[in-house]
Symmetry: C2
Subunit: 191 residues, 2 copies
């Protein structure tokens, strides 16, 4: 049941991703559903609520991807799996990922606080993953964990701007991991 409501939230996510939250009117949304804009309010309480349900499904998807990272494994392997998971979410739910990383600032009130906290928690989990790698000796002891976290999260958060839906993201994640783990320096110039 509530199939029509799902249709609405899906269409809303798509338009929010394409034109932005403020750039999408309830009227445009209604037209996409083939319906009068007043009719939308028998399916949803407000435009804000529409944004919120998108954000919630984004938060759920990204955290679920991190849940699949094995507790006991070499750090490089854990990074690889985490990056694979993140990029897979982005490519399989590109609109959700786009809205989640770009439009969260237009949430208001308690919903906003909640989503901001979820985003922060996601970053903290990544930071912990890298810190544990240093502590276990898998990663270099002089690694700047803060900078490394920033770097990998940048790659993850920027992916929605260039990732084509349906692309093989596992291989891509592995390439990123390879660069992160071993660096770009030429063999000949290694000190």
């Amino acid at each position: 049941m509530a199939a029509r409501r799902d249709e609405l939230t899906r269409e809303a996510t798509r338009l929010f991703a394409e034109r932005g939250f403020h750039g999408t009117s309830m009227d445009a949304l209604a037209q996409a559903l083939g319906v009068q804009k007043g009719s939308l309010y028998s399916l949803i309480g407000s435009k804000q609520e529409l944004l919120y349900v998108t954000m919630r499904s984004g938060a759920t998807a990204f955290h679920a991807a991190l849940d699949a990272v094995p507790e006991r494994a070499p750090a490089a392997e854990r990074v690889r799996v985490a990056l694979r998971g993140h990029l897979r979410v982005v490519s399989e739910q590109l609109d959700v990922a786009t809205v989640f990383t770009r439009e969260w600032r237009y949430l208001e009130g308690a919903h906003r606080d909640e989503i901001v906290a979820e985003r922060r928690r996601y970053e903290d989990r990544w930071r912990a993953l890298l810190r544990e790698g240093v502590e276990s000796g898998d990663l270099r002891t002089d690694l700047d964990v803060g900078a490394a976290t920033l770097l990998v999260l940048s790659a993850a958060n920027w992916a929605y701007t260039w990732l084509e839906p349906g692309r093989d993201t596992d291989e891509l994640a592995d390439r990123f991991t390879a660069i992160l783990v071993d660096g770009i320096r030429g063999y000949a110039t290694r000190a």
Copy 2:
């Protein structure tokens, strides 16, 4: 002369960065200047034009930063200088950088085409920089230049979200460069 107009574009950039283009009304802009909204139109032709001048100064700033990268120098050093330049622009002109990377899609018509081309050219210049590093032997011959470019541009483009204005970005750029060049792998686990 035209001092008042500069004041307007500066305030517009600030508000576009804070609330987004569609989230900023001409009325809010006028209030920030202490003026009636109709009065803005003796200083600027349209809201679109206001967005465009911000985008232009962003494009100019980022390209100028890349111009300062030495032609003949080890690739790692060139990456370091380029990254320093980019992050310096972001921190010194945070609002401009924010609008440039986040609000460009709301430009319309020919202005949009122009700015999109500038953004693409900037990315191409980065890609060339890394490719030349491989060709000169400074960077590993098996480096995936596309993935490496994506990685470094992600870090650059995401910086506006976390960089605090006035922070020492040179040191930060060097830390990023160090990770990119040598990787995160622990010495003990090096193959």
